[in-house]
């Protein structure tokens, strides 16, 4: 059992005090006596000590015992319960979910009850708050996922920006669009234009956005229902973009804008087509007016009764000639227009194999007969209203299955000039021409539903045709749909990063203060982590960069989807001895862009970010030496993971990238390729950041100062 020191003290103390009191009383008496009296008392009491000395001592001991007993009772009754209550209350204070306090004694029962009531109330409050927070964050996460999914599926390019023009969110379409707009070498794929935290002003003039925002704010101020505004802008690469700008407003009604959503449409082709059509229409109108004027005037002349036969013939000639000219003009226009017509109905681009597979499934389901997908051209993109088309195919399949007991279907899809042939082939018998015509032009019956469309309508919706064709002598016949090919090659499906990296709403909170980067927390900055492979170690004596790789870190997130990976033609030989280090053979860099093209692109990629590299001084030396010839200057702050690692692990022997990665638990992949090393360095950097924080290094300025004073900094490269 634990000894309660307070209790022991409380029990011992009264006896002790009593003893001191008695001794002090005796001493006081002794001091007041003169020598004779002391001698008399000594003589009188001295012999008694031997015989009766124990009596006063026992008397005292009884008193001390009684006092100890009383003190113990008092202590247990009044001091201990308060201490226990205090301790229990403290526990409750730290953990609202701790059990309720049991009253140690009846005396403190009311107090305990009051404390418990308070604690209950607090627990309810805390739980309520937690529940609300959990619900809210679940709601936010759900909304974010829904938004991400929605944006990924949208056919339009969507970019969400904060007021400073930094991108917070974009979808795959926007990525493809920016890839087309990019003038940088292909491998960069527009990633210098689109990226979380990048400025939209690289694509759209800042003044235009500012003007659009003003318009929006005016409309909001007037209380208009639609505040979205639209404008058209040209890009350096000669594209025309139709931009819709919608404001992002806080839920409270009168709040100021926090950003905006941009919907971007590349209308270059539409616009060209529209202009051509308008031009044709105008030309036709004017030419027709002129012709009609000639015809009318000639007819007016023919009305004169006194006209000679020669004049009469002349005016008839005019009429004939002009009528023929008008006919020709219309024929020419018609030929041009039919190509345009097919763009009216919104068709979607689809891979032929996907369409065939979907159609086959649907026909099988509708007829219960096997459908073979034969001869579908690979990589054929067509423009279709897939739903209506598959419906038409199923309808025809159903009719055929009803007509013949034993029929098998085959689907065939192949390119033919600017169009594609989609054939539904069947075996088992012939159908009369009247029946076929009825199937083609009558309304479609799907299940119990009567569609307003006919098979022919569906073909016409595609600006195409449908007809029945017999393979002569071979027996089976087929329906052939003439469909438009996708007019533009779709961007080769670029591997897109997992969706979540596309958005980062934390940037809404990011503020613009690029000047005072040194005071900015390390976790808030955007970084470009890069690495280069070179022909050798000495740029001064002619070694060149042959590969540049980089990834971005924004708001503490590594954006794998936004990477830079470019081989560079060094304009010189690659020493055989260096090949084992980087694995880049001379034929790999042949035809690649020169450093003069790559550095400006990389500069754009790294704009407004802090550069990070491992042993970055080496890479920077190559970049610096190119400043004069390329005119590209890298003036942003630079951090070196080698130096930072030696700040957080000063006692480690090796600060090689592998060693650091090993210590920090980062898996090393594709070592000695620029992009692979950049990725590893970025992961290492992200692991080092919190370790720096533990050492109180939380701003860029502090990190740079620490790097400089670290041991390795004193070694100059």
């Amino acid at each position: 059992m634990k000894v309660d020191r307070g209790l022991v003290l409380a029990m011992v103390l009264p006896g002790l005090l009593l003893a001191i009191w008695l001794v002090a009383g005796v001493a006081l008496l002794w001091v007041t006596l003169d020598a004779a009296q002391r001698g008399a008392i000594g003589a009188a009491v001295g012999p008694l000590v031997e015989t009766h000395g124990v009596l006063p001592f026992a008397w005292w001991a009884v008193a001390a015992g009684l006092a100890a007993w009383a003190a113990q009772r008092l202590y247990v009754a009044h001091v201990q319960p308060h201490a226990r209550l205090t301790d229990a209350t403290r526990v409750l204070l730290r953990d609202p979910r701790a059990p309720a306090i049991e009253a140690p004694t009846v005396a403190v029962g009311d107090l305990t009850g009051a404390i418990n009531a308070l604690a209950d109330e607090r627990r309810a409050l805390v739980e309520n708050t937690e529940r609300l927070v959990a619900e809210a964050s679940r709601g936010v996460a759900e909304e974010r996922d829904q938004l991400g999914a929605l944006m990924a599926e949208l056919h339009q390019s969507v970019v969400v920006c904060n007021l400073a023009g930094r991108m917070l969110l974009y979808n795959g379409r926007a990525r493809s669009l920016f890839r087309r707009l990019s003038q940088a070498p292909r491998a960069m794929g527009g990633s210098e234009l689109v990226g979380l935290g990048r400025s939209i002003f690289g694509v759209i003039d800042q003044a235009l956005i500012a003007h659009a925002l003003e318009t929006v704010e005016r409309r909001i101020a007037r209380g208009e229902a639609t505040v979205t505004t639209r404008f058209v802008t040209g890009t350096p690469a000669g594209h025309l973009l139709l931009v819709s700008l919608a404001p992002v407003r806080p839920a409270t009604r009168d709040g100021a804008l926090t950003g905006y959503v941009l919907l971007l449409d590349d209308i270059t082709d539409d616009y060209a087509q529209q202009s051509r059509r308008d031009g044709q229409l105008l030309e036709l109108t004017e030419a027709s007016r002129a012709s009609l004027a000639s015809v009318q005037a000639a007819l007016d002349m023919l009305e004169y009764p006194d006209l000679g036969p020669e004049d009469r013939e002349r005016f008839h000639g005019v009429v004939r000639e002009e009528v023929a000219a008008m006919g020709q003009r219309l024929a020419a226009l018609d030929a041009g227009a039919s190509q345009d017509l097919m763009t009216r109905w919104p068709l979607q681009e689809m891979l032929a194999t996907d369409l065939a597979a979907a159609a086959a499934r649907q026909i099988e389901a509708a007829t219960g007969r096997p459908v073979a997908v034969a001869e579908v051209e690979a990589d054929l993109w067509i423009n279709v209203d897939s739903f209506a088309l598959i419906e038409a195919l199923s309808f025809l399949g159903r009719r055929l299955a009803d007509a013949f007991d034993q029929t098998e279907f085959r689907l065939r899809l192949s390119g033919a000039g600017t169009r594609a042939h989609l054939d539904l082939i069947w075996t088992g018998g012939n159908v009369s021409s009247e029946t076929l015509a009825d199937w083609e032009s009558g309304p479609m019956q799907i299940g119990g539903e009567r569609s307003p469309l006919s098979v022919r309508d569906v073909a016409e919706r595609h600006g195409g045709e449908v007809w029945f064709e017999r393979d002569r002598g071979q027996g089976p016949g087929f329906f052939r749909f003439l469909l438009p090919l996708a007019s533009v090659e779709l961007d080769a499906a670029a591997p897109l990063a997992a969706r979540p990296e596309f958005y980062d709403f934390d940037l809404f909170a990011a503020t613009e203060s690029t000047n005072a980067l040194d005071d900015r927390p390390l976790t808030e900055l955007a970084y470009t982590v890069f690495d280069s492979e070179t022909t050798g170690l000495d740029p001064a004596s002619g070694d060149e960069i042959i590969q540049l790789g980089a990834v971005r870190i924004v708001n503490g997130k590594l954006l794998r989807g936004e990477s830079f990976d470019q081989l560079v033609d060094p304009g010189r030989s690659i020493p055989e001895a260096s090949i084992p280090f980087h694995g880049i053979r001379p034929e790999m860099v042949r035809g690649q862009p020169l450093i003069g093209e790559v550095l400006p692109a990389f500069h754009a990629f790294a704009e407004d970010t802090v550069l990070v590299g491992h042993n970055v001084a080496f890479d920077m030396r190559f970049l610096k030496l190119k400043e004069d010839t390329t005119g590209v200057r890298f003036e942003q702050p630079v951090l070196d993971t080698l130096l930072l690692a030696s700040v957080v692990h000063p006692k480690e022997e090796s600060q090689s990238l592998e060693a650091i990665a090993g210590r920090l638990g980062v898996e090393v992949r594709a070592r000695h390729s620029a992009a692979g090393d950049a990725l590893t360095t970025a992961q290492v950097f992200l692991k080092i950041l919190p370790l720096l924080g533990e050492r109180g290094i939380s701003t860029l300025g502090a990190a740079r100062a620490a790097s400089e004073s670290s041991y390795y900094a004193r070694l100059r490269y």
Binding site: R289, S291, A293, Q296, D300, V318
Partner: protein
């Protein structure tokens, strides 16, 4: 009285020439804008039936040149055009045409307009 017909479409010129002659005017024909301006300066017609769109010089340019040339400034100009848009009408008025007729037109209206301008 002399009337100049300036149009690059021979099929309308045939009818206009025939009609103007029947109405008793002396008719001169020009096939493009330059010829028209030369003919105006040389022949001093009282009125020009001027097509708006011609090779070499457009009717608008011819009209502007006539109005800025003191010797022929008072020539009456009736512009005939296949351009029916408001903007074209405004441009015609701007360069100083006296009247404007959009093709196609009735020759009876045209004759009436010519007579009115020459009255």
């Amino acid at each position: 009285m002399k009337v100049l017909i300036a149009d690059d479409e021979p099929n309308i010129v045939i009818s206009l020439e025939f009609m103007m002659k029947r109405e008793g005017y002396e008719v001169i024909v020009a096939r493009d804008g330059k010829q028209a301006l030369d003919a105006i300066r040389r022949e001093r017609p009282a009125l020009v039936l001027l097509d708006a769109m011609m090779p070499e010089m457009t009717g608008f340019d011819v009209c502007a040149a006539v109005r800025s040339d003191e010797t022929v400034r008072d020539t009456r100009i009736l512009m005939l055009t296949a351009k029916g848009r408001e903007t074209d009408l405004a441009r015609g008025a701007g360069v100083g045409v006296d009247a404007y007729m959009t093709k196609p037109f009735s020759t009876r209206d045209l004759v009436a307009k010519v007579k009115e301008l020459l009255a």
